[in-house]
Amino acid sequence: MRYFFAFLIKNHFFFLFLLLEILSFSFIIKHNRYQGSKIINATNQITGSVFTGANNVSDYFKLSAINRELSEEIAKLKTASFNKKNADNSMAPQPDTNYKFLCAKVVNNSTNRHSNYLMLDKGSNHGIEADMGVVSNKGIVGIVIGVSGNYCTVMSVIHKNAKISAKIKKNLQLVNLIWNESSYKKGTLTDIPTHIDLKKGDTIITSGFSFIFPEGIMIGTFENYKTEKGESLNSAVLNFSTDFNNLNYVYVIQNINKEEQIKLTKNSQHE
């Protein structure tokens, strides 16, 4: 036993190295598998306040861009409300109103890695929970995975584990959206039935089947096919409508009937 300890102490540099590397790999694996690891949630509050502090400074340089975006958004809403007034008498079914939008500010954002996250300045104190969808005025952004009191962490759509249920607007065909491109501007559509003929510029929207995003949130436009030989379903490249590199204010979507929907799905699966 004594020799063993002597051996350990003599080679302490190597063994300590081994121990620390094993520790870091266990962190990586745990974090990879389980979204929103405990360490990230525990440190959300600290990192959040540091990022907010830095944001207070950098915000001044973005003010004009934010103003322009806001006025564009107001114009769009005005058009929508005007059109709605005119259409109120029609027999058309009303769109569902189960969704509530909460405005939040992006305090940190990454686009240059394979696992990209955002941090928002709203948390459980403001009613935010895990698995809520996040959108910007231009389109889809991500899904909340971790919440602390005043901050939440969002898994970006440009994350290697992200998978979003989407559909093609013109013929309502269901497809899936993943991200394995090297650019934050482009995503990948998979599971496109081969008889569907897509043209450049065709719009892709959310399907509304995931309980996270309501139907019809803009995702992006079709760019080109990239099908490999021998596959029964096509895949394609799409251009995101959201500029992930330039996000300031986003909306967190609260699905009021989500629990009921999930319960119903579970119940019907049991039978």
Binding site: F13, F17, L20, S24, H31, I39, V50, R113, H114, S182
Partner: protein, 171 residues
């Protein structure tokens, strides 16, 4: 001695904040990003005990990781770099005398020594970082290309800061 410890702790904090608040917002071509915080390990005093070298690299990686939400990746890269450091210094300085109060920098060792020293360290760091980030070898050459660009970019910044510090000390 106390002075050196304070200086290194200060450098530790400043480099982490610089990395997560400033440098992580630099995105040339969408993904190219300098991982400059590694400078802390490069500049640690040569007589740092080996265990302290590993522990401080671990804490450095952890500090950057909790801000980047990438728990483990920066730790693994920094600890490996700290592990190769003593051997690398020994190999590069064979034939040279290392005096007790020399610092790992251009001023004491010269440009060529520091260049090869940083090149190896930064390359290893970037290599581990990018491959752990994607966690597969499936697109080896694309990832390797990123590693090379990241290495050149970081090396460039580190050499520049070396010259800034030399000028300061001469005045």
């Amino acid at each position: 001695m106390n002075n050196i410890i304070t200086k290194n702790i200060l450098r530790f904090i400043v480099l982490i904040l610089l990395q997560v608040l400033v440098l992580n917002n630099i995105k040339f071509d969408g993904y190219l990003n300098p991982y400059f915080y590694i400078l802390f390990i490069l500049l640690l005093p040569l007589e740092t005990p080996k265990w302290l070298l590993l522990i401080s690299a671990f804490l450095l990686g952890l500090g950057v990781d909790i801000f980047m939400k990438s728990i483990g990746i920066n730790i693994a890269a920094s600890v490996l770099v700290a592990f190769i450091r003593p051997g690398l210094i020994k190999y590069l300085s064979s034939g040279k005398d290392i005096e007790p109060n020399m610092q790992a920098g251009i001023r004491d060792f010269g440009f060529r020594w520091f260049f090869s020293y940083s090149l190896v360290m930064i390359f290893v760091h970037n290599f581990v970082f990018y491959f752990l980030d994607i966690f597969s070898f499936s697109e080896f050459f694309i990832t390797f290309y990123k590693v090379l660009l990241g290495t050149v970019f970081t090396l460039f910044l580190i050499i520049i800061t070396q010259y800034l510090f030399i000028n300061k000390k001469n005045k």
